[in-house]
């Protein structure tokens, strides 16, 4: 096996993020239920956040708070965490918007399963 166990363990964050990304993508694209799609979207976004944060991590470094006593030290990169905060806000707004749209769709169609909605729409379009 060319694959080094060390390689996997050291990079487990990235591999985990990728696996989560694919799971989220699969969920969004295949499940017919709209709420599950939104959940899948959230999983995808969580995967990205995980990826981003693990970029910033430096091994053997401390949290990025400057303590004048201890002097120069290796800090974990604070920038990705800041970006993730923005990302989380964005994810929440998209989820909120999507959920309100789902409420409206339910009021209009009576169902939130995509196949049934497609059936209702194709019946309407053929008129």
């Amino acid at each position: 096996m060319n694959l080094n166990i060390d390689l996997i363990v050291n990079n487990i964050n990235y591999i985990g993020a990728m696996i989560l990304f694919v799971i989220g993508l699969y969920t969004v694209l295949t499940h017919p239920n709209l709420i599950k799609k939104v959940i899948g979207l959230n999983i995808m976004e969580t995967a990205i956040f995980l990826f981003f944060v693990s970029i910033g991590y430096v091994q053997g470094a401390v949290a990025p708070i400057v303590n004048p006593e201890t002097g120069e030290q290796m800090f974990v990169n604070p920038l990705p965490s800041a970006m993730i905060l923005t990302g989380i806000v964005v994810a929440i707004s998209i989820t909120a918007f999507a959920l309100s749209l789902i409420v409206k769709i339910h009021a209009a169609y009576g169902t939130i399963e995509l196949d049934e909605i497609m059936k209702i729409r194709s019946v309407e379009l053929d008129d």
Binding site: E45, P80, S93, I94, F97, L101, A108, R121
Partner: protein, 493 residues
């Protein structure tokens, strides 16, 4: 390099007004319209001043709070950004002038204020996306644009609108997430978020971490491709653009999609640079999908009977033209693509606005039933005909000039067979647009019904958009000179 504050003024003006709108108590009326147009007029003056400053001066970079590029956010104001901002504000003035009367029939009157809030936020994000020089800032604006552009579709509470906006939202969100992944990969290897600094680093990094860069470009292209409606990923576009209220369709087709294409152009040329793009074959990849878009978009449009759906598929084909210009990888190609961005914005807005007027006047969306409308609504059909002639490529309209430049770029870039594709696509355009014009003018009217007569504001705004398209067609050099100056800074910086 003197740095003027115009970009920030424009953005703050739009954002400020957007925030202030919900505070209005009185029902939607004249006073609000006056306020809105004065704000837009001010923004127009600022954008025009910006353009003059940049043309007679030079491109400059604007930093926020005097934090330099690597630490703070930077706006790079070059000629094309200023021009594009001016086009965005001009078109939005015209489309919003149209919308004041048109929306009474389409959305509930309690939602009018919300609509304008969303439109202003959308304009804010488009202009932000055009100016920004920082990839994470780009991501933030992309998200803001994503949500607001879905919202201006969903605000019309009909069944098909809701489903279409859901689809757009989900696919758009997938796109954004993919893009963010790409940005993460780039940040991982270069450690910068500022586009110019990334470009400086990228050549060394390319030797060490090629896979990262490749994966990043792959994700970014696919993600932005979903939002910009490249061929196989375009399925949200026909539903979204056809079921939306008319001003939203015009704004979406004309401005929003172009903002994403412009971001792809920025990524390709400003971040990873022209050489790497050509070396790894991204240009050829885009070319394949551009050709598919051009042909398949037109083929799909042939079989639609709803006029707005036909226009939406035509948008897919026209965006294929822009990608063709981008995918050539030469300066001539990039200028032709940017020229088409502006000319298509005018033409497609003219087409959507006149189609909306037809729907407003007759309540009928079916293309087969448009016999004889030309005599009832001469101005509308005249604007529609101008748009159609532009799409086919008759000299005297801006569409012809963009086909001309694209043709020259294609031949210059060494792909002469693509010329046949461009002309085939023009012919297909004629096949599905001409029957509408012919039946409108040359057949007799079977029915006499009309819903309500067309308000003056709608007629005037449509006419001005059509006129703009013709003016660009007769004097393309005023825009082309600006674009060519911009391209050299674009590829250089």
């Amino acid at each position: 390099m003197i740095s003027y504050h115009f970009p920030v003024f424009i953005l703050m003006l739009l954002l400020g007004f957007a925030v202030v709108i919900p505070l209005h108590r009185k029902p939607f009326g004249k006073s609000f319209v006056v306020k809105m147009f004065s704000v837009l007029g001010l923004a127009f003056i600022l954008a025009f001043a910006e353009l003059l400053v940049v043309i007679y001066g030079e491109a400059y970079s604007y930093t926020f709070g005097s934090y330099q590029g690597g630490i703070g956010i930077e706006f790079l104001v070059d000629e094309f950004s200023a021009l594009m901002t001016l086009v965005v504000i001009t078109l939005s003035i015209l489309i919003l002038a149209y919308s004041v009367k048109d929306l009474e029939h389409e959305i509930a009157s309690s939602k009018m204020y919300s609509y304008y809030t969303l439109v202003f936020l959308m304009l804010f994000s488009i202009i932000g996306m055009i100016f920004t020089n920082d990839i994470f800032n780009l991501y933030v604006f992309v998200e803001a644009l994503s949500i607001t552009s879905v919202a201006i579709i969903a605000i019309k509470n009909k069944k098909d609108t809701l489903m279409a906006s859901m689809k757009y939202l989900l696919m758009g969100a997938i796109g954004s997430v993919t893009v963010l992944m790409g940005f993460a990969l780039i940040y991982m290897v270069t450690g910068h978020l500022n586009m110019s600094l990334i470009f400086a680093e990228i050549n060394e990094v390319w030797e060490q971490y090629p896979i990262n860069i490749l994966l990043a470009m792959g994700f970014i292209l696919t993600g932005f491709g979903i939002k910009a409606a490249i061929f196989p990923l375009h399925n949200w576009l026909p539903d979204a653009h056809s079921s939306a209220p008319t001003p939203s369709s015009a704004l979406l087709s004309g401005l929003v999609v172009k903002a994403y294409v412009f971001s792809i152009a920025k990524m390709m040329y400003r971040v990873i640079g022209q050489e790497i793009t050509i070396n790894i074959g991204i240009s050829d990849y885009i070319l394949v999908f551009a050709v598919l878009s051009m042909v398949m978009g037109s083929l799909f449009a042939l079989s639609q009977t709803d006029i707005k759906r036909r226009l939406a598929y035509s948008s897919v084909a026209q965006i294929g033209y822009i990608f063709l210009g981008l995918g050539l990888g030469t300066e001539l190609g990039l200028s032709a693509a940017l020229f088409h961005v502006i000319s298509h914005a005018f033409m497609k807005s003219a087409l959507f606005l006149s189609a909306g007027s037809i729907i407003y006047y007759t309540g009928n969306r079916n293309v087969r039933k448009m016999d004889g409308i030309g005599y009832k609504m001469p101005i509308t059909m005249a604007v529609f005909t101008i748009g159609v002639l532009g799409m086919i490529g008759i000299p005297g309209t801006s569409g012809f000039m963009s086909k001309w430049y694209l043709g020259l770029a294609v031949l210059d870039g060494g792909h002469p067979e693509l010329l046949i594709v461009i002309l085939l696509s023009s012919f297909l355009n004629a096949l599905y647009y001409l029957p509408v014009v012919v039946s409108a003018f040359l057949r007799e009217t079977p029915l006499e019904m009309h819903r309500s007569s067309l308000p003056q504001s709608m007629k005037i705004s449509m006419a001005v958009v059509g006129l703009g398209s013709v003016v660009i067609g007769f004097y393309p050099s005023m825009i082309m000179n600006i674009i060519e100056a911009a391209v050299s800074t674009f590829i250089g910086i």
